[in-house]
Symmetry: none
Subunit: 413 residues, 2 copies
């Protein structure tokens, strides 16, 4: 099969609930979004439960589903995708962790966490991470890579490692570093290595020049590595290989970049002004997407701002971001190639009243040749609820797009 081009346009955290100050409308229903409204009018609309009705999807589980991977089969925890997101070469069988560079003090022979984020350290973490690379502990290769600020990822590679282990991170300041434990032999092996990594990080970091400099400047030293969220890296069949096309991802944040990279999509590098925030450079995201569409059959685009506003509980900011997004769409839409199929949807709802992801379904627009436009004329949760696509699940999206764009094989005769 050889089909047409597909764009999956994710407005992260898009869905919301009625807000009294907005006359019991959602931010999307309230915002002036003439370009999205025109798309809703020209397209077919519906609601999507990213996982299933009521289930509060993470961005990771949702994106897996939207790419056609059942998260109940492929999602083994956040660690592997975080590690892939910072550019580590994570392989099936690896055990991966999210980590913080943190500040600890010795008290009664124990390491007690003083500052889980080491004053949100901005510089020098690459030097600290480099202390580990190539190191083997108990025959296990240890890989550490810094991410933004105090964040890092840890990958353990070796035979017979388990991932059902506790966190070293106590998750609160003032508490001692936790001794990692596991039940099975494989988990115990992992736990023993992680405990040695934590101890070794303290020995390597405490007098490291990076920290001597920090202390000299009155800042908390990043003198320990605190792993959490262990996950056994899953085997995920290549997304482009599975469908026989070239696929790219234009996404703002590391976790989703990690999902995309892990699934084999080409992850497009973006300028620093694309920062995953409310003031992100939308024009740069759209420009990168235009470019990617010239060389790829499938492009995943994720814009993060609405989710940030949802987490902040800031309805006005969510509304303003959606209006700014709609403004920026003007030039983007004008330059889109003909024959393109587009899906516009959220990866989950992040209602401002909740301040976190909720299990409410997200609105969807399907656009392009062959779709059956319905009576919906504006983009919003309620208008899309009566759309022709009905209520779908995240795993339904990719087959629908592959069908419309002509990539789908017939099932049967």
């Amino acid at each position: 099969m050889n089909g047409g081009r597909i764009l999956v346009f994710i407005i992260d955290g898009l869905g919301d609930r009625p807000i009294r100050d907005f006359g019991d409308r959602t931010p999307l229903e309230t915002a002036s979004t003439p370009r999205l409204d025109l798309w809703a009018q020209r397209g077919e609309t519906g609601l999507v439960d990213p996982i299933a009705p009521g289930i509060r999807a993470g961005s990771d589980t949702s994106h897996l589903a939207l790419l056609g991977y059942d998260p109940h089969e492929y999602y083994t925890g956040r660690g592997p995708f975080e590690a892939a997101g910072v550019g580590m070469d994570v392989r099936p069988g690896d055990v991966a962790f999210r980590c913080n560079f943190a500040t600890v003090e010795e008290k009664d022979g124990r390491l007690v966490v003083v500052d889980r984020r080491a004053d949100r350290i901005q510089k020098g973490t690459a030097d600290l991470a480099a202390e580990f690379n190539g190191l083997a502990i108990d025959g296990v290769t240890v890989l550490v890579k810094e991410s933004t600020a105090h964040r890092a990822a840890l990958v353990l590679r070796g035979e017979g490692l388990g991932a059902a282990v506790t966190d070293a991170d106590p998750h609160d300041d003032g508490r001692p570093v936790v001794t990692v434990t596991g039940e099975s032999d494989a988990d115990k092996k992992t736990a023993a290595v992680v405990n040695k990594v934590v101890q070794l990080s303290y020995e390597k970091f405490k007098d490291h020049p990076v920290n001597k400099d920090r202390v000299a400047h009155g800042k908390n030293p990043a003198n320990v590595l605190l792993p959490r969220g262990a996950g056994l890296a899953p085997h995920i069949p290549s997304f482009p290989g599975r469908w026989g096309f070239k696929a790219a991802a234009v996404v703002e944040v590391g976790l989703i970049r990690g999902i995309a990279r892990y699934c084999g999509l080409d992850v497009v590098m973006l300028p620093a002004a694309v920062n995953g925030g409310l003031d992100t450079d939308l024009a740069a995201i759209f420009a990168a997407t235009q470019t990617a569409l010239q060389t790829h059959d499938f492009v995943l685009m994720n814009v993060k701002g609405a989710d940030v506003a949802g987490h902040d509980g800031d309805a006005a900011a969510k509304l303003a971001f959606l209006e700014r997004l709609d403004d920026a769409l003007e030039a983007f839409i004008a330059a889109l190639p003909g024959g393109l199929h587009v899906a516009v949807l959220g990866d989950h709802s992040t209602p401002v009243a909740v301040g976190d992801h909720s299990g409410d379904p997200v609105p969807l627009i399907l656009l392009g040749p062959g779709v059956r436009p319905d009576a919906t004329t504006t983009f919003g949760e309620r208008p899309c609820a009566t759309g022709g696509a009905g209520r779908l699940r995240g795993l339904d999206l990719l087959p629908i797009l592959l069908n419309l764009a002509g990539w789908a094989e017939k099932y049967g005769a």
Copy 2:
């Protein structure tokens, strides 16, 4: 997580089909139900297939699904839930049966059923049942408990019992008691015990004072116990334990009480005027629900009358019951606690034209903070079919309510 209160309000057998005498409207669409209509207007509506589209759900399988237990995994037959419903302590691995106290006569050395319901015996069944308790047959403990009228439950407890056995009950008068059989060793063991229970019941009951008295009064003796509907008692994880809250059930009939008890809900005792019929004491049901909501996070309420009218094929009675229910809601609604989330729906359709459960979907209202009200303004099968919640399955209901009320954990990051 610690969320808000939830009420699941089941109108048993609610759904129906268009009735010519009602101008091709259903009883619910025809009935004057201003309070339910107001709820439909304020809430989000939809249709629910209790199991899946077209599947004719029982009250037991439907309630399991609505409580979040996939009946394909947890439903092993009616016996265990009937037994739990009459207050027996059913344990995983037990084999449980529904039974009738019946009347048999000896003919040519066989027991032939004369009256499957022993003149719907009302008194003395506890004395008959007591003849069995503590008894062991082939090393298997035999427990019998009377239910209403001629009904009873039988529980077998012991090692290596199977439940794939035939019924002893021939299901028609004038036919001989059936010798119970099974295929596997475990099933054969159960069958042998049940056959001995049946034979023993005749020996113990035939000259029992209860029956001597009945015969003296011209009534058929309850001189045998006829088991049917064998089920291996499943292991069901505790409903309150699973979600971390307190849960209660205010329900009228034994089977649903059994489901609730089996799932670990507190089953509220109700006055005798709550009789599961068309003339049940609705005010008492609502009062008990109000009380339960003061001490429990989750309350399941089931009102049975509409189902009774459906089984009776009586459209006028179904309509009248729904109108009486709506009247009684006036005071109930006024006294509901703030912040409550409510789901109003049927557990299945019982169309009067069918006189039994059908596989037609049931209408749903979701009410409470955060729901997205839709354009539906009356409660009915057709109005709800265009509602914002779309078409859901029974298993979707609990996750949706847990999400709205703030009890749901995030899946992913």
